[in-house]
Amino acid sequence: MSEGSLIINQLVAGVIFGATLILILSERLHRVIAAMSGAALMVILGMKFGFYSPDEAMAAVDFNTLGLLIGMMIIVAHLKRTGLFNFLAIKSAKVAKGNPRYLLATLGIATAFVSMFLDNVTTIILMAPITILMADALGISPLPFLMTETLLSNIGGVGTLIGDPPNIIIGSSAGLGFNDFIIHLMPLAIVTIGGSLLTLNLVFNKELKIKPKNIRHILSLDEYEAIRSARGLKRCLVVLGGVILLFFFHQQLEIPSSFVALIGASIILLFIRPDPEEILKDVDWSVVFFFTALFVLVGGIERTGILTLIRSKVEFLGTTRMVLSSLLLLWISALSSSIIGNIPFTMIMTPIIKHIATGGANVNPLWWSLALGVGFGGNGTPIGATVNVMAISLSEKTKYPISSKEWIKIGSTVTLTSLTIATLFLAFLPALFK
């Protein structure tokens, strides 16, 4: 291929990718429509200019990521019908004895823990209404609780392979398994949850100072009444427990993570035998199509060699002192995720880090920095992570809607706290991220 046509190809692919990203960010078009149209255009013009073919586009889609997402969504679709989330929220409130400060901690920790294994958006959709109800019954603002749950669900999700979609993408492209994430990221995620809770306690000091009116109403909630089907819940928990156990061994057994989730999904369908149509409606297909389209788009720009160009600019990441490189990547990832969203950024970065690895460098610290950066950075702005948008729209149904300005103020404070903790870990415990 001549130098001239190479530049034209790069220009075409770059413009399609950039325009799609702008359309997604401007919200002028639904992100799925924008991404799918961009992907279609990438393939059509790729064929015309000879840099991309439909077969190559198919190969660019990471089916392991999609399978893991769909499998876990099917399991969660069963779990959400059991009332488990209401049970957890009520239990948290009772442990906190209705004290707002304790309630912030118990609800936050419960959400962070659940988010380590289940999808954040579903967790927040199910935790938010009961949280708002409890705050309303206490006569206090639900805002601190709603924001804490959302911010901590993003932080909790960083700790496992299945907790956050970016981790699924990273795990799949880097060949890192469930245990790798637990060993390398879980300790840091737990410390960050603690640190962020302290920060949120200070940020919401004024709201949490208020003495709630009627604590006895919260104490009179019956968490067992919240469970809709004890039998269904038991079966769901057995399958989920089995799936998590299998995740611990999937690398030794050489089973891809998507298979673990899909096996779990099949077993739960067989166990519970719901109407499959109903369950499949609960799979967030817009996420699946958005991911697929982004994979096709990134595949296109990868074929034109743009990423190789970028790689030559960031090659030093693999050759300079790894601690410095990983710190740099951590902060860049956080900042970029806040601006363009953590999923598009992760998809752009994974092939670049993979390219750096071909030079022989041990890039594992870079993978961990990317996961931490995009996970924590996603908290900074309303568009940083999908669940943030969801929390804001849920808050609009209350007397205390969360404004974008308020989100940025509180979210970026928590992001700074998390990144500082991550920086300290990366700088002083580099052995943990080898």
Binding site: I130, N214, T398
Partner: protein
């Protein structure tokens, strides 16, 4: 062909966007209709208001996200008391509560279309318009009464 014009109740009682909660409740009490159309001074339809819209104010919007609340024995600060009622009856206006996306028919629409619209949208009555102005209301009761008389 049977037309809406021949079955509707003409010149219906309508409310304005600035009517208070209390005024609309009194109208419902006096007239026993299911809905009232909301119009501006030129009789352009702005929306409709039903008893469901009025009663809905007493429960926060997020309640439709809770599929179950049998575990709540006492709603605490949410419970309805005298102050809440006083606040709502004077503070809430029709424009805060009305539904503005409304299925309507023209007076020339056929009766069959009107019935099909009611059935598919699960609604009991339709505002009838002539050149975008409200001229009547056609309800299931109007249709049934008239058809049996025929």
């Amino acid at each position: 062909m049977m037309k809406v014009r021949d079955f509707m109740s003409p010149n219906p009682i309508a409310v304005s966007t600035s009517n208070t909660f209390r005024e609309v409740v009194e109208l419902f009490y006096r007239h026993r209709f299911d809905i009232f159309p909301v119009v501006d001074e030129k009789k352009h339809l702005m929306g409709i208001i039903s008893k469901t819209d009025l009663i809905g104010v007493f429960v926060p919007e997020y309640f439709n996200l809770l599929d179950n609340f049998s575990f709540v024995k006492d709603f605490g600060a949410l419970e309805i008391n005298k102050e809440t009622i006083e606040l709502i009856e004077h503070l809430f206006l029709v424009e805060d509560l009305m539904v503005s996306r409304v299925v309507t028919v023209d007076e020339e629409t056929t009766l069959f279309t009107a019935i099909a619209l009611m059935r598919n949208n699960q609604i009991k009555c339709l505002p009838v318009l002539r050149e975008d102005k409200l001229v009547g209301i056609i309800s299931q009761t109007d249709i049934l009464k008239a058809l049996l008389r025929e």
